[in-house]
């Protein structure tokens, strides 16, 4: 059910981010969503891409430190209060959100939220029970 996120370690030095995006561009990998967590010493780049397998191959061939993380993708209406609603559902179910980021759909009037939680299955059940629509890797390909 869950979405595949590509996570890349980014050294804190000039040019390290562009080295990653360049690499993906050269291999025709399109990015759907992106977020970066940065500390004084390093960054962690999190990506949802259209061709996960190709992205994994090119970045690992180039020696980047990467991993694939299963995250939850949820579709929400593009209007005030919708994200709060989804977060309330998780809160009520006692599910802690480690991080999240969002992206807009190009065609529909919807936003998509990527959630990193400890227990994906529990979060998915809670959200679906509350009427939310989850997105999968197949959906991302079509976006």
């Amino acid at each position: 059910m869950s979405l595949k996120q590509l996570t890349v370690f980014v050294e804190n030095k000039q040019g390290s981010l562009v080295a990653i995006t360049d690499n993906l561009a050269r291999h025709n990998v399109n990015m759907r969503a992106l977020s970066i967590a940065d500390t004084q010493e390093f960054g962690i780049l999190r990506l949802i891409v259209d061709d996960h397998a190709a992205a994994v191959k090119t970045l690992s061939d180039e020696g980047f430190l990467i991993n694939t993380t299963a995250v939850v993708g949820v579709k929400i209406g593009d209007e005030p209060g919708k994200l709060s609603k989804a977060l309330e559902v998780l809160d009520n179910a006692g599910i802690n959100v480690e991080y999240l980021y969002a992206f807009m759909a190009r065609t529909e009037k919807h936003a998509y939220v990527v959630l990193r939680v400890a227990d994906n299955a529990a979060a998915e059940t809670a959200l679906e029970t509350a009427g939310f629509h989850l997105i999968t890797d197949a959906d991302v390909d079509k976006l």
Binding site: T7, F9, A37, F42, I44, R46, G63, L65, R116
Partner: protein, 436 residues
């Protein structure tokens, strides 16, 4: 300063008499070691040397060397020269890997060591009127115990502070009018800065002298400490393997440290060939303990590079002087007064599931050492959260602290990101300028 000595007949003994005394002691000591220390007897047998071949200090070069590797191989009792029932104490220092060096002492050994420390205290002007604040660490480390014992022998009022708790150090220093401070030079500098921050001026504290050792320090640092504390700062040298601080100490001239030659016979060798070099040459310092009983190391290679000089000293002492160590002939680092070997870091990394791809960066900010270890992550160790990575860094730092006794700041970095020169990783970057 009035010329005063703790043991004048020995400290000012004419050089010829001193050499005669050393020869007599050496002959006796070699016999003692050969009869009691099987490990060294084997080394002598392998070299074809018998105790009767050693008739005086001129025959010293015939004896085999001992190194830190021998201490590891013989751990814990292999170099013991007396039955354990005659031993009264141990001290310990780090080894090159997980195994520590443990040195044993009989009461005789403690006495001669404390005499050496007492000579150092008297050389900086100490008398039974003085209040001696010992802010070296107490415990396995030799610093606290050595100066504490020396202070007792001189008859100083001894403040057994150990290191740390700087506010308390300052309170005792002020309230009890300490006149002599013994600690590492970086801690002395730190106490000086803290005094200044608290509004003290050098003249507010009756401190007159400091005995600072256990880590490298420069002339510049000496001048800084002397200015902030309003004292004269003196160097002291020693190592656990030979007893502890007091093997050599500075006098009022502050131009090198007199080696207590009646107990410790010094040589300078070429670290590559082992050949004995003439006086005045720069090379590795080697010590032979002339009358230690429990841990009687002969020709122990210190790995410290220095120069010896027998130029007459204005203080009247006849014992040979050694320069401050100018470097090491191995890869040992001294960080915050603690001996650290890269091999110890490697041992921890392998144990914790990391590859031994790392880089140690040492710097000195103010007068304190910074200690950073950069470690390349394995792909399977990489997680998608910052907290996950910082938790791994913290756990690795703790594991290193258990091994080393000091806590490095660990930085996990990407694979193959550590600078390599000619294909070989640069393991140590020491930005401190410790040698003038």
């Amino acid at each position: 300063m009035e010329k005063r000595y703790y043991q004048p007949e020995i400290e000012t003994m004419p050089v010829e008499d001193l050499k005669k005394l050393q020869s007599e002691k050496l002959v006796k000591q070699v016999k003692h070691v050969y009869e009691n220390v099987a490990y060294y007897r084997d080394l002598m047998d392998q070299k074809g040397v018998k105790p009767e071949d050693i008739r005086g200090i001129e025959d010293l070069h015939k004896l085999p060397f001992l190194s830190k590797a021998d201490l590891r191989d013989a751990y814990p009792y292999g170099l013991l020269g007396k039955p354990l029932k005659d031993c009264v104490r141990i001290h310990s220092t780090s080894g090159t890997t997980g195994r520590r060096v443990v040195a044993f002492y009989t009461q005789h050994d403690i006495d001669l060591w404390e005499d050496c420390c007492a000579r150092a205290i008297v050389a900086v002007g100490g008398t039974d009127e003085d209040v001696c604040q010992v802010a070296y660490g107490y415990g396995l480390f030799t610093g606290g115990a050595g100066l504490h014992g020396g202070s007792h022998k001189v008859g100083c009022l001894t403040l057994p502070m150990s290191s740390g708790f700087t506010d308390r150090q300052i309170q005792f220093m002020d309230d009890l009018s300490a006149t002599i401070l013994c600690c590492t030079p970086s801690y002395a500098a730190y106490i000086g800065e803290t005094l200044k921050e608290q509004g003290y001026k050098p003249e507010d504290i009756p401190l007159k002298a400091g005995i600072f050792g256990a880590e490298p320090w420069t002339e510049e640092m000496r001048r800084n400490i002397e200015a902030t504390l309003g004292i004269k700062a003196y160097d002291i040298y020693g190592l656990t393997e030979t007893s502890g601080p007091g093997v050599a100490f500075e006098c009022c001239e502050q131009t090198g440290m007199h080696i207590n030659e009646d107990h410790f016979l010094a040589e300078i060798i070429d670290p590559d060939t082992g050949e004995v070099l003439p006086e005045g040459s720069k090379g590795e310092l080697v010590f032979t303990a002339l009358d230690k009983e429990a841990f009687p190391l002969l020709r122990y290679r210190t790995r410290d590079i220095c120069v010896l000089s027998r130029k007459p000293c204005s203080c009247g002492r006849t014992h040979i002087k050694m320069s401050k160590p100018m470097g090491r002939s191995d890869d040992m680092m001294i960080i915050r007064g603690v001996n650290v070997f890269p091999s110890q870091i490697e041992t921890v990394l392998l144990k914790e599931g990391y590859q031994p791809n790392y880089q140690i960066v040492i710097d000195r900010v103010g007068n304190n050492d910074t200690f950073d270890v950069h470690v390349e992550m394995n792909p399977e160790q990489f997680t998608d959260t910052v907290s996950g990575i910082t938790a791994q860094e913290k756990a690795l730092g703790e594991a290193m602290k258990t091994m080393l006794g000091i806590n490095p700041k660990v930085h996990l970095v990407a694979p193959k990101s550590i600078q390599r020169s000619e294909g070989k990783a640069v393991r140590i970057i020491d930005k401190r300028k410790l040698h003038d």
